[in-house]
């Protein structure tokens, strides 16, 4: 039965105008049971964002199939069940923070999903003071937080986050990770999470998918069998470090597989 998972089979995608021998994604297979928290990690340019966009139904692919909980990505979106945090915050510059956050509740009302109170969302990401500011008056991290709050607001079935915490300091990041885990647990959301932080991938996920570049493909899928909730004890324990090291090692081989021999020369 495919109704309870995201299934990507033999996915290949080359961007138009790019070298067709080095597609952005090559023969990617991936299976994500409903309710899982899956991290994507891999070298820069390996196709993580592309994969996310394909799963969200935002990008055509060349061959292969993508099904999301037994339906197409498009139909998922129709139910307003997908929350997206793109790599760039993608805010509406002419609306203030509060209206940006409450945007989903004003769009596609017929999907009939309730949405969170924007003020609560802003408190969640520590921006209640900035509610009336406009995007051009925000710092980079603040913009990212607005995008996160916006995605949280629709209580999505599937949450696609592309490096959502990259511009945040460790403590804000940690606080938001907790918020994210809370949301995930309460709503049994499925999360596909792109990150560059091995530690973040391991502390948050059930599964870490390591990708490699040129062409973009799945290098290794690692299960994180740590108990939940991931409280301080778990997060600082030795098992975590072992896992971290395994992911890092996998990432290193992925990185070396993708990097051409003379890729990184010292100047």
């Amino acid at each position: 039965m495919t109704g309870d998972r995201i299934e990507v089979r033999g996915l290949t995608k080359a961007y138009e105008g790019a070298d067709p021998l080095r597609p952005a994604l090559h023969d990617v297979d991936l299976e994500i049971p409903r309710g899982r928290f899956v991290s994507l990690i891999g070298p820069s340019g390996c196709g993580k964002s592309t994969l996310l966009r394909v799963v969200a139904g935002l990008e055509r692919h060349d061959t292969g199939t993508v099904s999301v909980f037994g339906s197409t990505p498009e139909r998922m979106a129709a139910a307003k069940a997908v929350g997206l945090v793109p790599q760039s915050p993608a805010l509406l510059p002419w609306q203030n923070v509060r209206r940006n956050v409450s945007l989903p509740s004003r769009v596609n009302r017929r999907a009939g999903r309730g949405s969170e109170d924007p003020d609560l969302l802003l408190r969640m990401v520590g921006l209640e003071d900035a509610a009336r500011k406009y995007p051009h008056e925000l710092s980079g991290g603040m913009r990212q937080r607005v995008a996160i709050a916006r995605a949280f607001g629709i209580r999505p079935d599937l949450l696609l986050m592309d490096e959502p915490f990259s511009a945040l300091d460790e403590f804000t990041r940690e606080a938001l990770q907790l918020q994210l885990l809370g949301l995930w647990e309460r709503m049994s959301t499925t999360v596909l999470f792109v990150t560059h932080s091995v530690r973040e991938a391991v502390t948050l996920s059930d599964t870490v998918v390591v990708m490699s570049a040129r062409p973009g493909r799945v290098h290794e899928v690692l299960d994180v069998d740590l108990p939940r909730p991931r409280d301080r004890g778990v997060v600082t324990g030795p098992r975590l470090h072992v896992l971290e090291d395994r992911v890092r090692a996998s990432l290193q081989t992925a990185w070396e597989a993708g990097a051409a021999p003379d890729d990184l020369v010292p100047l």
Binding site: G83, W94, N108, K133
Partner: protein
């Protein structure tokens, strides 16, 4: 809940980050704004006077133009109002239709492909040639003149809006897609606001253009007995140049006023756009 002072559009920021103390500039603001225009106008006035002395049948002495204006302001006000009404009605119809059409065209490519060539045809058809037919169809009233003005103002808005509606950052479009926003929602909540800088540039073009349109309409459409265009025409026919140029001065004043208005509008609507930073 802490209430914050809302960040508002800022009036004057030409000189970039490295400027003198802002306070001083504020003080000079008024002068800086009006001086250059005044000087330019004065210079033109001088040049005018020189030419007028040399070739009186080309340009009337400025003094005479002034005299005419001062002696019977009512005459000019009345005719200006008559022309302005046509201009405003025309630009409302023209820009309005263009706006709506551009929305439809941006959503339905077939419509775009069907309409664009017709719009071009309409645009390159000299309205002067159409005017008689319009009078036949709509009689001697304001209608044909409003239509001529509307035709003239239609195209710049259509074109600018078409470009503007397409100028949307892809990631934001993606967010709307995942929300499964309807095409209408994407249009109204994303494309239309994104196109505002283009729309306002178009308005800056077509508001003055509407005045020209109204004047030309008065020239060519049958049944014009009032308006600055009629005044220019009849005065030119009897070589009463001071009236011609007094009327042009009124037109210019109307145009400058309209532009000032749009600038104010722009400051309020586009405070978020990079062009205002």
């Amino acid at each position: 809940m802490a209430t914050q002072t809302p960040a508002r559009p800022r009036p004057d920021r030409e000189e970039g980050p490295r400027g003198a103390a802002p306070r001083v500039r504020r003080r000079l603001f008024g002068i800086g704004l009006w001086m250059p225009a005044t000087v330019a106008v004065l210079l033109c006035g001088l040049a005018w006077t020189a030419v007028a002395e040399d070739q009186p049948y080309l340009l009337p002495p400025l003094r005479e133009v002034g005299t005419v204006l001062v002696e019977d302001p009512g005459l000019f006000l009345g005719n200006a109002w008559s022309t302005l009404r046509i201009a405003l009605l025309g630009v409302s119809f023209g820009a309005g239709t263009a706006f709506v059409l551009s929305l439809v065209m941006s959503e339905v490519p077939v419509v775009r492909r069907a309409i664009m060539p017709l719009a071009v045809v309409l645009n390159v058809t000299p309205v002067v040639a159409l005017a008689p037919a319009l009078v036949v169809a709509f009689g001697f009233g304001m209608a044909p003149k409003v239509i001529v003005t509307a035709i003239i103002t239609f195209f710049p808005v259509l074109i600018n809006m078409t470009t503007g509606l397409r100028s949307v950052p892809v990631p934001v479009l993606h967010v709307f897609s995942t929300l499964h926003a309807s095409r209408l929602e994407v249009l109204l909540r994303l494309r239309v606001p994104s196109s505002l800088p283009y729309a306002l540039a178009a308005l800056r073009v077509v508001f003055p253009l509407s005045i020209v349109g109204a004047v030309v309409a008065e020239f060519v459409a049958a049944g014009s007995s009032s308006g600055l265009g009629t005044m220019i025409r009849t005065s030119a026919a009897t070589a009463r140049l001071e009236y011609v140029y007094a009327a042009i001065a009124c037109l210019a004043a109307m145009g400058v006023l309209m532009l000032a208005l749009i600038t104010v509008l722009e400051r309020r609507l586009l405070f978020w756009h990079e062009s205002q930073q």
